[in-house]
């Protein structure tokens, strides 16, 4: 059984009288420990597809099976639990809560998990140091650069030890050195803990670092290259 199984996924948005088909009949099997990249033009449906996998939005048609069960049929509590425990989501855009410090932002997913936030304080500091922000623990997002904010969001995605990481242009505003560090971190987590990675990028070099390379075009997905495991 694949870890994630997409079959016949479509997503349509209604904009006035028009319907925009953002994702169009996507099927894909993802195994535990896979490392995938997705490239594609802006507006091709990458973010929408990633959000469907992450349980943040429901597809118009099709199924998303996670370890055999359809997450689109889960009730709200269960799908929230799925987002919280199984998935680490890195958004394309700034996504930190402005009233919380870096550390509190990283703890936040822990607040919705079973452990409770108090047990997560130490882990939050550790992950912030992994992304090189030990000295910014108590800074608010407004006091951080775009790249620093993104690194906080990465730490937040890691805090609950997810099984799948969905990253929407995760290294977008990072300089090359930091980008390389983050990619190293991803690869390390992927190797050591069998964490599945799916990341969207505009950077062809980064995309080629992935074992499986996919491309989206007008809502359709094709697998460009696959290095056999």
């Amino acid at each position: 059984m694949s870890q994630i199984e997409l079959s016949g996924i479509s997503k349509e948005y209604a904009v006035g009288d028009l319907t925009i088909r953002a994702v169009d009949g996507v099927s894909l099997s993802i195994e535990k420990g896979d490392f995938l990249s997705i490239v594609g033009h802006s507006g091709s449906g990458k973010t929408t597809l990633l959000s469907i996998i992450g349980g943040i939005i429901r597809p118009s048609t099709g199924k998303v099976l996670y370890e055999g069960s359809d997450i689109c049929r889960l009730d709200d509590d269960r799908v929230s639990e799925y987002r919280n425990r199984k998935i680490g989501f890195m958004f394309q855009f700034a996504s930190l809560l402005p009233i919380l410090t870096a550390k509190e932002n990283v703890i936040l997913p822990g607040l919705f998990g079973p452990a409770g936030a108090t047990a997560r304080g130490k882990a939050a500091e550790e992950y912030l140091s992994v992304v090189g922000l030990s000295d910014k623990i108590n800074s608010f997002p407004s006091q951080l650069s775009g790249g620093q904010q993104r690194r906080v969001a990465i730490a937040r995605a890691l805090i609950n030890d997810p099984e799948v990481i969905l990253a929407d242009e995760p290294t977008g505003d990072l300089d090359e050195d930091t980008e390389a560090e983050i990619m190293d971190l991803f690869r390390k987590l992927n190797k050591e803990r069998q964490v599945t990675f799916i990341f969207i990028t505009h950077n062809g070099d980064l995309a080629r670092q992935a074992a499986r390379q996919l491309r989206m075009h007008s809502g359709r997905l094709e697998e460009v290259s696959r290095i056999p495991a």
Binding site: I57, R58, F91, L97, L108, P109, L111, F112, G121, N138
Partner: protein, 398 residues
């Protein structure tokens, strides 16, 4: 420090981000609860005062001159200074009515500062010590002997005004010097603000001519009814037999005040209800704005795993804090207003019996519940709408 980051500190942070708005909401709830506490205290107080006062009056039937019933209730229940007179011969005649067990009478004189007397304005009660059963129960151990001519007893409240207590004080009443020799126990009735003298002093007072009283007049007759007789029936018989008097059974005393109070209750109820509805609208409007402002943040929270119940809980904490803080302020302010402002209401002006702590606590708890419930009610629909938003749509809506 940040290790103790919880949903509570998160809620507190949210409340602090727009302190003025939070303060205004708290103040609004505070105002509403102030009104509520004040109204409840006022109503309960008048109600209990009337009941206590009529219960403690040791008479089954009260007889006053025709047309003076209202004035008599004012004196007995509300401690107002009023006088009214009837012929003393009526005492004996009424005593012959079937069912009367005992009778006593009192004569009321109004003391006016400067003109006749050197004590604050009050009712001076001249009573007959041989037949009295109204004042005796309140003399207690404090005063174990008969009151002599030229001596006066002071009601529990007046005692403070004239500072009678440990030492004996002299006072001039209607041109005569009186020695204040004792203080009555607290009765919770109009007697608390009066001054008491023996009937035998009336002659001297009349001689000095500093009062409207004429010889051979009394103000009020108290009757006790024999076992097995209905006080209302006896009162009716007295009223039928003597047109010049008005006889009232004890349970009917204060009925006028209570029916006025019932109307007042209705006015209060409508006003407070409207204010409560207004507050719900206010909370609703503010939380609708808050929901719009925070929909992006809530979308992020939902996307990283917050359940609908987490969103509800976060807002519930904020709402409960506003409600509880507002109610708390309101309870203190309302109690203060009812204590201080209450003195300026005619209906409560001289009322001595205050609300018990227990009653105040019950009023406080009811108001706390109402204040927080109003907050929750107002925030309910905006929060419901917010938590139902699809996370990605909420996030992208910018």
């Amino acid at each position: 420090m940040a290790d103790s980051f919880t949903i509570f500190s998160f809620a507190a942070r949210n409340l602090r981000r727009k302190p003025l708005r939070t303060a205004v909401l708290i103040a609004s709830i505070g105002l509403l609860v102030t009104a509520l506490v004040f109204v409840l205290s006022f109503v309960r107080r008048v109600d209990s005062v009337v009941k206590v006062a009529s219960d403690r009056l040791g008479a089954d039937v009260i007889i006053v001159p025709s047309g003076s019933r209202g004035a008599a209730e004012d004196v007995l229940l509300e401690n107002k200074v009023k006088t009214f007179y009837m012929d003393k011969a009526l005492v004996e005649k009424i005593g012959r009515i079937n069912g009367i067990d005992a009778l006593t009478y009192q004569t009321y004189l109004a003391s006016i500062v400067g003109q006749c007397c050197d004590v604050p304005e009050t009712v001076v009660v001249a009573f007959n010590q041989d037949t009295d059963f109204i004042i005796k129960p309140w003399l207690g151990k404090a005063f174990g002997r008969r009151l002599k001519k030229g001596e006066a007893l002071v009601g529990n409240e007046s005692a403070m005004n004239i500072s009678v207590g440990l030492t004996e004080v002299d006072g001039v009443l209607f041109g005569n010097l009186f020695k204040m020799v004792g203080v009555l126990e607290k009765t919770g009735t109009g007697l608390d603000t009066a001054i008491f003298i023996d009937e035998s002093n009336i002659e001297d007072i009349l001689t000095k001519g500093k009062t409207a009283l004429k010889s051979g007049q009394v103000s009020i007759i108290f009757a006790r009814v024999k076992k097995g007789f209905d006080p209302s029936k006896v009162a009716g018989d007295i009223g039928d037999a003597f047109v010049e008097v008005n006889a009232v059974a004890r349970k009917d005393i204060g009925r006028n005040i209570l029916s006025t109070l019932r109307d007042l209750n209705r006015v209060f109820f409508v006003t407070v209800t409207l204010a409560a509805v207004l507050s719900i609208f206010l909370v609703w409007a503010v939380f609708s704005a808050i929901a719009n402002e925070r929909s992006w943040e809530i979308g992020i929270m939902r996307a990283i795993g917050a359940r609908e119940s987490h969103v509800s809980r976060l807002f519930l904490i904020e709402v409960l804090f506003i409600g509880a803080a507002g109610s708390f302020i309101g309870i203190i302010a309302g109690t203060a207003v009812s204590v201080f402002l209450g003195k300026h209401f005619m209906m409560l002006k001289n009322v001595t019996a205050d609300l018990g702590t227990g009653e105040r606590i019950i009023i406080g708890l009811c108001s706390l519940a109402a204040g927080t419930a109003i907050c929750v009610a107002g925030a309910l629909s905006p929060v419901r709408r917010l938590k139902k938003l699809e996370p990605l749509l909420a996030i992208r809506k910018d």
